[in-house]
Subunit: 255 residues, 2 copies
């Protein structure tokens, strides 16, 4: 028997098919219906191995859309799953910073990936992927180019924390002729310092594991390391931390 | 001798020329330079009466750009000026709600227009004129039409407080075919309930005086009255409350 972990986020659905090790990874946009997107992900991962639902010993759902997935045998909060998955991807991590498309969270972990404390922001777009997206648009950069601006060089300070006010500020700076790259560095710095504030609230312990879509930006990582004065670990599968954690929790229940 | 009160807001500069009664009222966009906008307002108001600066016994500046106006004889905080001006426009008011272009504030007043307590939001665009503006744009309504949607009728609840997330929510609702007017009522309700929360924090006492650009929306007023269960007073010159208060403070100093 195998298990499946599904993480239904507001932007993307992630799935991991697991049987002692991760066998398949899946990623797709959530679209309008978390339920349909979740069902499609299950079908896709099973299809790849020529399996059907009866081959699954457990199907664990997590993420903001976890309740929509009635096929799940169990629903587990995203904090618990994310902690478990982050521990698997980076066993030495004692704190996790996750910046997702529409939320951000920090989790303090014990040595076995259990949750000691956490904080979450899903009410304000500032400091989430959404902030990145709105500001990239104002700067006429795509998100990749934005995240790849080298961390070294002058930066234009950003005074507004609010995404809406920051957008106006950036447009004003462009109009005044401030170089795009300096503005980007100012924005990355502001996300790094906002994240540092959130981390301080849970009493961050190094090493830090940085997950979520924005962890792919080497510059943001560099600004975080400077801000926190500690190494920041990443993993190419970090977007799957929640789904992997869900799968591992399912696996623990059937073996 | 006359006095001049100038309120340099983030969106608009307001000026009042006073000599025992308000003689001239002026309103202009702030643009990029609060200083230039303030100077232009002074020149314009004096020009209308064929006066020059030597005819002024006091020139009081207030608002976020008050420090930029070096010509001012005194700078006074916007809370103090707003309270004084609101008391003049609506002497019975014991609480003021002001929703400006980029901030919102509530002030508790004593019987003479002095400040008992206040709360201010200038960090978050939600619940300010900016929220209105972003959402009007998403709905393809102009701000006037938006504010004029009749308060009676079904309303589509808004779950996001954040301007950025509310914008996505509204776009999603339009895509699902929800009538525009129902969406607008949901937005007005959400601004009313956010304002009520702020008013509760200073321990609102009726009557309430509602000032700022958004006070011109009869529907928003109706939603506020429903939410607060008390009459809401407005005044056609309420946008000038800060500038009028500044002028009155100047007048008090020279007579
Ligand atoms: S409007 Fe700005 S500060 Fe307010 S919740 Fe949204 S992003 Fe955050």
């Amino acid at each position: 028997k195998l298990v499946l972990g599904i993480d239904i986020g507001s932007t993307a659905v992630k799935g991991v098919l697991y049987g002692g090790e991760a066998l398949e990874w899946g990623l797709a946009p959530t679209g309008w219906s978390p339920r349909d997107a979740g069902e499609a992900m299950i079908a896709e991962l099973l299809r790849r191995r020529g399996l059907d639902k009866s081959d699954l010993g457990a199907l664990i759902s997590t993420g903001y859309g976890r309740r929509a997935l009635t096929a799940a045998t169990k629903q587990v909060t995203e904090i618990t799953c994310h902690a478990r998955g982050a521990h698997e991807l980076c066993p030495q991590a004692r704190t996790v910073l996750d910046i997702g498309g529409q939320d951000s969270k920090v989790i303090r972990l014990d040595e076995r990936g259990g949750v000691v404390d956490f904080a979450m922001n899903d009410k304000c777009a500032a400091g989430t992927g959404r902030f990145f997206q709105v500001l990239s648009h104002a700067l006429d950069y795509d998100v990749e180019a934005f995240g790849a601006v080298p961390a070294d060089g002058p930066s234009e300070p950003l005074s507004s924390m609010c995404t809406v006010f920051a957008e106006s500020e950036v447009i004003g700076n462009l109009a005044r002729g401030v170089p795009r790259e300096n503005i980007v560095r100012g924005l990355l710095k502001s996300i790094a310092s906002r994240s540092a504030g959130m981390l301080a609230r849970v009493g961050m312990k190094p090493p830090l594991f940085f997950s979520g879509g924005l962890s792919r930006s080497p510059s943001l990582r560099a600004f975080l390391e400077k801000e926190l004065d500690c190494p920041v670990q990443v993993h190419e599968k970090s977007q799957f931390a929640g789904a992997l954690g869900a799968a591992l929790i399912g696996w623990g229940a059937i073996v």
